[in-house]
Amino acid sequence: MSTAKRQLEDLNVIVSGQGGDGSLTVINILADVLRGYGLRVYTERDVLSRIKGGITAATLRAYNGERLCIGSDIDLLVAFDVLAVKKHAYRLNERSVVIYDNSGGGLPEGHGVPAGARVIGVPLSRHAVRTFRRDIYKNSISFAVIGRLLGLADADMRTSFEKRFGRRGAQALKYNLDALTIGCSLADEAGLTTDAGMYDIVGKETRPHMLITGNEAVAFGFLVGGGRFFAGYPITPSTDIMEWLVKWMPKFGGVVRQAEDELSAVNMAIGAALTGTRTMIATCGPGLSLMQEGIGQLGMAEIPLIVVDAQRGGPSTGLPTKPEQSDINLMVYGGHGDFPRVVLAPGTPEECFHLAVEAGNLAEKYQCPVFMALDQGLSQNLATVDPFDLEKVVVDRGKRLDEQGLAQAEAYRRYAFSDDGVSAFAAPGMAGGMSLVTGNEHDEWGLVSTDPVNRVKMMDKRQRKLESMQPDLPRAVNHGVETADIGFVGVGMTYGVILEAIDLLAEQGVYAQYHQPRTLFPMLDETPTFTRRCKRTYVVEYSATAQLAKLIVAQGGEQANIHNILKYDGTPMRAEEIVRRVLGDLGVKEVEVA
């Protein structure tokens, strides 16, 4: 074999097997080690809605710089199962390497691995069972083979195992370290000696950093934004938010309750929000469908609440573990009747953090529901992120009356008419603030009223918030060449893919820009304006019916300039798909770039 080592600039690895084979563990440890070498990492998981079994996969990209998506080509496939080889073979090329478990025999006919790819069979499972009587240790054995192949130092592998398994007790650590040792001798047998690695790994990053998912960042942002009450019902892919908060909220005097269903969750949250507590719920499509009556109540009764939707494949139970962005209509238009709401759309874990704070501020300032539109990829994929500047976080609780302010007021009307549509709030428990909150149409005191004149004034008051909140709504971020004729619009997990596509297009001599809206509703003028500024605007989204593109058109976007890139097969988009589509549309022939 060639001994010329490559500089590791961009590495894409899939570890795949049956659910429960421990693929994700391998990827997570690998992420940790490579991060230690100064590379930025991004991981993706492809799991099924079952605890064990089925072919699942975890994917990692290590990059000398920043990429928030998995690359189009896979450099290394680690397969615990021949079915896993078949499933992922189409993503390999002649430079790829496959490590597979040959305990059950060699690769069968029709495995699909392209000619030229290097295939290394290692009896992982056989050794795991022989030594530990437990098949599960095959993943730790495989790690040594992967490490040797990539050029990781044995000592670094051991350190990462100590970090990972040390928490699980001495026994677990010993077994896994033994497995690593077995893996090293199997690697030796396969010719992967300590100096046989493919890469020289030299990363740029030396600063401390975080490895964090969008869900974790939302949960953390909510906490730092002063959130002290969360209610939820377990539902993939939003559950990690509740799990993180269950662990951390009590340390700050906050409360997390797991409700009996989503109806209860949204109403528990309403109860807490009524007392003046910053409150959040998190769910995805099916749960949000159940919560719709509560969402309308928030609008009508003017109650602040952060509502996170970690979108997954719909409709109905749909694709519970797969990405989609097809709840945009539900967030923007859901609920009966007319009421103001805000829909924010972060694109990175960092934005998840900051927008969770903003969502709380907007909810309390404008006393209405504020959605955070996430998706399975943004929610669950792990990325290298720089530490957040906690000191810069500003918590704005809006027009709140304290005891003194209340005492000085001549009268307290919960729904007092105002120019900006917002009425001051006095938290229950304060003397002199007795008030009525209701989802019936009401007068300024909160007493039920069907008077037509009052109805129109109240409706207009609530709707005025959509105007008055404009200066506070998060602006879009624009990336790429501002004068380019080709434009992209996309939110959530399309962020990293679009940015990579722009770089790949530039290599082909095609320049493009990316408008990343962070407020979907009420949509700011900047977004429809962008579709008029570019000759061709590609709206990239995970929806069969182009929900985002249609929203932009409804808000004044230029339909004739808009082209849809739609994905709804339950798999994450690759930059290559966008590049091919754009080059095809332009009639540009793709050239091989070194």
Partner: protein
């Protein structure tokens, strides 16, 4: 003095049992010295769901059936409030029935008063879950929520009153509020509250109610015995009134809140107090 809303006059029909419930609640709160600004009354949808408009309090008109989850959230966020849930049998046992068992199980510090009239008055007389077979075209057996409560080990206060027996109603209302104020959790009080327009049961109930408080040897601390006695009385066609069961168990908020901190609603979260803690939380993501 800051002017606040003037409590509205009740919208109920003359003779409605809900007047008695309102009067008992107002008197009980006065007697126990709960000031208006510490009261949070969370009401359901239906005739009884307008009660919060008729006394001085922080009132909330909940979504149909969602009184208990809302009240639970409010109490956890601010346990200093006297949180009272009120509603009807349709609200509490039909559309909101699923929450009732979970509320018994959780035992939040909430007093829940259900005005049971066996019918949907506001929509003009459809049978509710407590309507007997033969009411209108009802062919379904009626539900006994007290027995449901007895069957759930977490329940701590189960009582039934009758708006036609105001002295006992007042005493049970006070006992319910006191149970919750003492940190023992949810007090559940069902009040038989006739609908004079669609299900005028005054005559039937006058003869079928049975005062368990007056029964010698009845032990409200014995769940099994209470269940047996409730079953017997039901078979005899009687409607038991009084304190059916009272148990000892800490309230949800005692278990769920970290008392090293102010309650969620009372914390100053805009200040820098928690910054060091936030840094520690961020450290858990650092690699």
């Amino acid at each position: 003095m800051t002017t606040t809303f003037t409590p509205a006059r009740p919208i109920w029909c003359a003779g409605c049992g809900d007047f008695g419930v309102l009067q008992a609640l107002v008197n009980a709160l006065e007697e126990l010295g709960v000031p208006p600004h510490k009261r949070m009354v969370i009401a359901g949808i239906g005739c009884s769901g307008s009660l919060q408009n008729n006394l001085s309090c922080y009132g909330y008109h909940a979504l149909h059936g969602r009184v208990l989850p809302t009240a639970t959230g409010a109490k956890l966020a601010n346990p200093e409030l006297t949180v009272i849930g009120v509603g009807g049998d349709g609200d509490g046992y039909a559309i909101g029935g699923g929450h009732l068992m979970h509320a018994f199980k959780r035992n939040p510090g909430v007093t829940y008063i259900v005005m049971n009239n066996g019918t949907y008055g506001l929509t003009k007389g459809q049978p509710s879950p407590t309507a007997p077979v033969g009411y209108g075209d009802n062919i379904e057996e009626d539900l006994d929520p007290i027995m449901l409560g007895l069957s759930i080990p977490g329940s701590t206060f189960l009582a039934r009153a009758y708006s036609g027996a105001p002295a006992q109603l007042l005493e049970l209302t006070k006992a319910a509020l006191e149970h919750t104020a003492a940190g023992r959790g949810m007090s559940y009080l069902e009040v038989l509250s006739p609908c004079v327009t669609y299900n005028d049961t005054y005559r039937d109930w006058r003869t079928s109610v049975y005062d368990i408080d007056a029964e010698a040897g009845y032990d409200a601390g014995n769940r099994a015995q209470a269940f047996v006695r409730m079953s017997e009385l039901r078979e005899q066609g009687r409607l038991p009134l009084g304190l059916v069961y009272r148990g000892e168990r800490p309230a949800l908020e005692e278990l769920a809140l970290n008392r090293d901190f102010e309650a969620p609603a009372l914390q100053d979260v805009a200040g820098p107090a928690a910054l060091a803690g936030y840094r520690e939380a961020m450290q858990s993501f650092m690699r």
